[in-house]
């Protein structure tokens, strides 16, 4: 079944039908559920329907000087629902974390059409289990996220990017080491080789108050990172690479992991130990507690109408 509900009540009926007939749900288009339901700037919270695109949401939040501090690629196409299902992130995750850190409430349609809520609309809340964490990153395998409430933040006074070209990975490694032990608190620290130049490029991003950013730029410049930059490499890479592999390693092992890719194009989040590339790799899921995962799938989608994880 391909579902395109016009509202939430519609979706619950469609799911109940699918569940009853045991028919698999192939796709769900939540394009009709694209509203910002509530933005309380004084509470720094916002509630949205899952079909809203990230770009649309950011634009509306910005009218009151706020934003949801996540920045996955292709914000014009990417809906909040997809971001939540895939736990999508971008270069600023070093400074702000991932969407998991910002969801404070969620409404999910379960396989049988029932709607369940977890969390609420307040920034601190430990009533009941945190079901939200289960659905974030679950690739639609447990239920359909229809609404979410987020903590949002004030837009920073200033944001600035600088970069330096490193002749070799060894040179980059040394530089990263000295940046890590410096007093800098970058919101972005990326390494990439997608600009068509030799060697690799290290990009730093700073955000915050005017004075704070100014001070960091001058410190970075003393460490040799001083050419003006932007996040263009990021959009360019993800436009050219529709579904890259994602490798997650200890930050201290990042350079070695990059080296093993043998010069194919990559973008790496240095501080997080995450590398996007398109080399073929074996799966890294050794040691997952598969028993718990199977029981989870069984509890929430016993008839397997949703895709498996």
């Amino acid at each position: 079944m391909n579902l395109a509900p016009t509202h939430v009540a519609d979706l619950t009926v469609l799911l109940a039908k699918a569940q009853a007939s045991g028919e698999k749900v192939r796709s769900i288009d939540l394009g009709a559920l694209g509203r910002l339901l509530e933005h309380k700037s004084e509470d720094m919270t916002a509630t949205v329907e899952a079909g809203i695109t990230l770009a649309d949401l950011q634009q509306q939040l910005a009218t009151r000087g706020q934003w949801l501090p996540i920045d996955p690629p292709k914000p014009e196409e990417l809906s909040i629902g997809t971001i939540l299902e895939t736990n999508a992130s971008g270069p600023r995750r070093l400074g702000y974390g991932t969407v998991r850190d910002y969801v404070i409430g969620m409404t999910v349609a379960l396989a049988d059409g029932r709607l369940i809520h977890s969390g609420g609309k307040v920034v601190k809340n430990v009533a009941g289990y945190d079901l939200m964490k289960l659905f974030i990153g679950s690739r639609g395998s447990l239920g359909v996220i229809v609404e979410a409430t987020f903590k949002v933040l004030p837009l920073p006074e200033r944001e600035q990017f600088v970069q330096v070209q490193c002749e070799s990975l060894d040179a980059a490694d040394k530089l990263i080491e000295s940046l890590s032990s410096s007093e800098l608190v970058p919101i972005v620290m990326d390494l990439h080789n997608v600009s068509g130049t030799s060697g690799v490029i290290l990009v730093l991003g700073f955000a915050g108050t005017q004075d704070g950013v100014e001070w960091q730029l001058s410190e970075a410049s003393q460490l040799g990172v001083d050419q003006p930059s932007s996040l263009e490499y990021q959009s360019k890479y993800f436009a050219a690479t529709p579904s890259p592999q994602n490798l997650s390693v200890l930050p201290s092992k990042l350079i070695a992991a990059v080296r093993s890719l043998n010069n194919i194009p990559f973008v790496a989040r240095v501080g997080n130990g995450i590398i996007y590339h398109s080399a073929s790799m074996t799966s890294q899921d050794a040691g997952r507690s598969t028993g718990l995962e199977a029981r989870l799938k069984n509890e929430f989608d016993s008839k397997h109408i949703f895709p498996d994880f």
């Binding site: 700037s41 004084e42 509470d43 720094m44 736990n87 974390g97 998991r100 850190d101 999910v108 029932r114 369940i116 809520h117 977890s118 609420g120 609309k121 307040v122 601190k124 809340n125 430990v126 009533a127 009941g128 289990y129 945190d130 079901l131 964490k133 289960l134 974030i136 990153g137 679950s138 933040l153 004030p154 006074e157 608190v185 915050g208 108050t209 004075d211 704070g212 100014e214 001070w215 960091q216 994602n246 490798l247 997650s248 200890l250 997080n272 130990g273 799966s283 890294q284 899921d285 040691g287 997952r288 507690s289 028993g291 718990l292 995962e293 029981r295 989870l296 509890e299 929430f300 994880f309």
Partner: protein, 480 residues
């Protein structure tokens, strides 16, 4: 409920953990009859103090075979009765598994045993310029395992978030004794494949199993702090200041409020120099890079003055800053000067509703004729009204309970929650049906079945419909 557990089971427990690590004598078990929530009490049948994950696993497997409830316990500082042995059972106390196992500055993480005390981590890493961010007021006693169970917060969660934002992975013993690792592994990247079961476990109040090791994030300590103390004529003015600071786009590390009653008690206990006649004091702590901090400090002073602050003091030395925080974090301990007994509530409202809930608390105080001082995380909208009563007067006990219920109901009505950081435990079970629908609760029950299908881990918590303790006689309160 069984009256005792058999000598054979005690013998088997002894064989697992060794002499001196099993408590079963009635008088010695009294220590474990409650946590910092003292309105309900019940004794476990036995308490065991394991030293290794393997021992925990064997204890849990034994209890599974014998169908005995298990109750995980850290330091027993829970304010919601989260570690109450409602129908007895074997209490597994993690206090001997308290080591910091590894500190990895390069990758900004530390591996600790669940019984490790929260403050020990920051103490161990601060010389290197790092800290562990969540800082509950009980941090000098409470354990990381307990923090994971309750998803604990603290004053600095305004900027830094709560436990779930700072725990990368956990080792856990499931209810059948199986040992699993959930989330990022000590030698692995931060984004493991699979479901975020780590995230599901954090805040599950010990009902999913027993966490034995925790991989925590370390963050760089801020380069500088500016800690301000604003003195206000009224709680309303102080609350408006909080809103205006956020409205100006400033996110301080913490914004904490104390009303007049609690300020007087804290001053009597710790002599910091708080004004005794002020309606409210507001502690605002800015942190981050030195550059830019001065300007934000001036902005905050200006906002406070616009809201009729009588004065705004800035801590001049690190010692003064630490003294101020000591007073704030020990505020509950000063209550003994005001009242023989108190019950702490832990409601949350949207930030902008703080003035409204504070007015409601004042009205509730008058309605029941009980004093209700307030010390709370104003920046998060997380209130902690302390309802004072004297257990020798039955009407006061009843009124204290009724006042708490009224306040928490009002939090729900204002779009908030009945607990921001203390948890549901046994205390707030009756509110679950008010805050969640039946379907919501069924979803939670489904998750519980995934981890603990036989309801053996910390039973009779969180969900309505369970057993309650018969003993409902409040006794002398210990300070949290």
């Amino acid at each position: 409920m069984r009256a005792t557990i058999s000598p054979d089971i005690l013998k088997a427990l002894l064989a697992i953990v060794g002499k001196g690590n099993v408590v079963s004598a009635q008088d010695e078990l009294l220590v474990y009859e409650c946590d910092a929530y003292t309105l309900e009490k019940s004794l476990p049948h036995a308490v065991v103090l394991p030293r290794t994950t393997e021992e925990v696993s064997k204890i849990v497997a034994l209890c599974a075979r014998e169908n005995i409830p298990i109750i995980p316990r850290g330091a027993g500082t829970s304010l919601s009765g989260a570690v109450l042995a409602v129908t007895g059972g074997v209490m597994i106390t993690m206090s001997r598994m308290n080591k910091i196992l590894e500190i990895d500055y390069r990758n900004r993480r530390a591996l600790v045993e669940a019984g490790c005390v929260n403050a020990w981590i920051t103490n161990a890493v601060k010389a290197h310029g790092y800290l562990y961010a969540p800082d509950p007021s009980s941090q000098s006693a409470c354990t990381i395992g307990g923090n994971v169970a309750m998803n604990s917060g603290g004053p600095h969660t305004l900027k830094y978030g709560v436990t779930t934002n700072h725990v990368l992975g956990v080792e856990m013993v499931l209810s059948d004794g199986e040992v699993v690792w959930l989330g990022a592994k000590p030698d692995g990247g931060e984004e493991p494949d699979g479901y975020d079961l780590r995230g599901a476990v954090i805040g599950s109040e010990g009902t999913f199993g027993i966490v034995t090791r925790v991989l925590v994030k370390l963050i760089k300590a801020p380069q500088a702090y500016k800690t301000l103390l604003g003195v206000f004529e009224s709680v309303d003015d102080a609350s408006q200041t909080v809103s205006d600071i956020i409205g100006a786009g400033i996110i301080p590390g913490a914004m904490e409020m104390m009303d007049q009653l609690i300020t007087q008690a804290v001053e009597a206990a710790y002599q910091f120099g708080f004004p005794l006649d002020a309606g409210a004091v507001l502690i605002v702590e800015l942190d981050g890079l030195s550059a830019g901090l001065e300007k934000q400090t001036e902005q905050i002073i200006k906002i406070a003055k616009q809201n009729r602050a009588r004065e705004v003091r800035v801590a001049k030395t690190e010692q003064e800053r630490l003294d101020l925080w000591k007073c704030r974090k020990r505020a509950f301990g000063a209550i003994g000067r005001l009242s023989p007994n108190f019950v702490t509530q832990d409601g949350v409202v949207p930030r902008s509703k703080v003035p409204e809930i504070m007015r409601f608390i004042r009205a509730t105080s008058e309605k029941y004729g009980l004093r209700i001082p307030n010390v709370f995380h104003a920046g998060d909208g997380n209130i902690h009204p302390l309802v004072l009563y004297d257990e020798r007067h039955a009407d006061q006990v009843a009124n204290a309970i009724a006042a708490g219920i009224d306040i928490l109901q009002k939090c729900i009505d204002l779009g908030g929650s009945v607990t921001g950081e203390h948890g549901i435990g046994v205390e707030k079970i009756d509110f679950m049906e008010k805050q969640f629908t039946k379907d919501d609760l069924d979803g939670m029950r489904a998750l519980r079945r995934v981890f603990d299908p036989e309801n053996r881990c910390n039973p009779h918590k969180i969900f309505p419909g369970g057993k309650r303790c018969g003993d409902f006689t409040p006794r002398k309160q210990i300070a949290a």
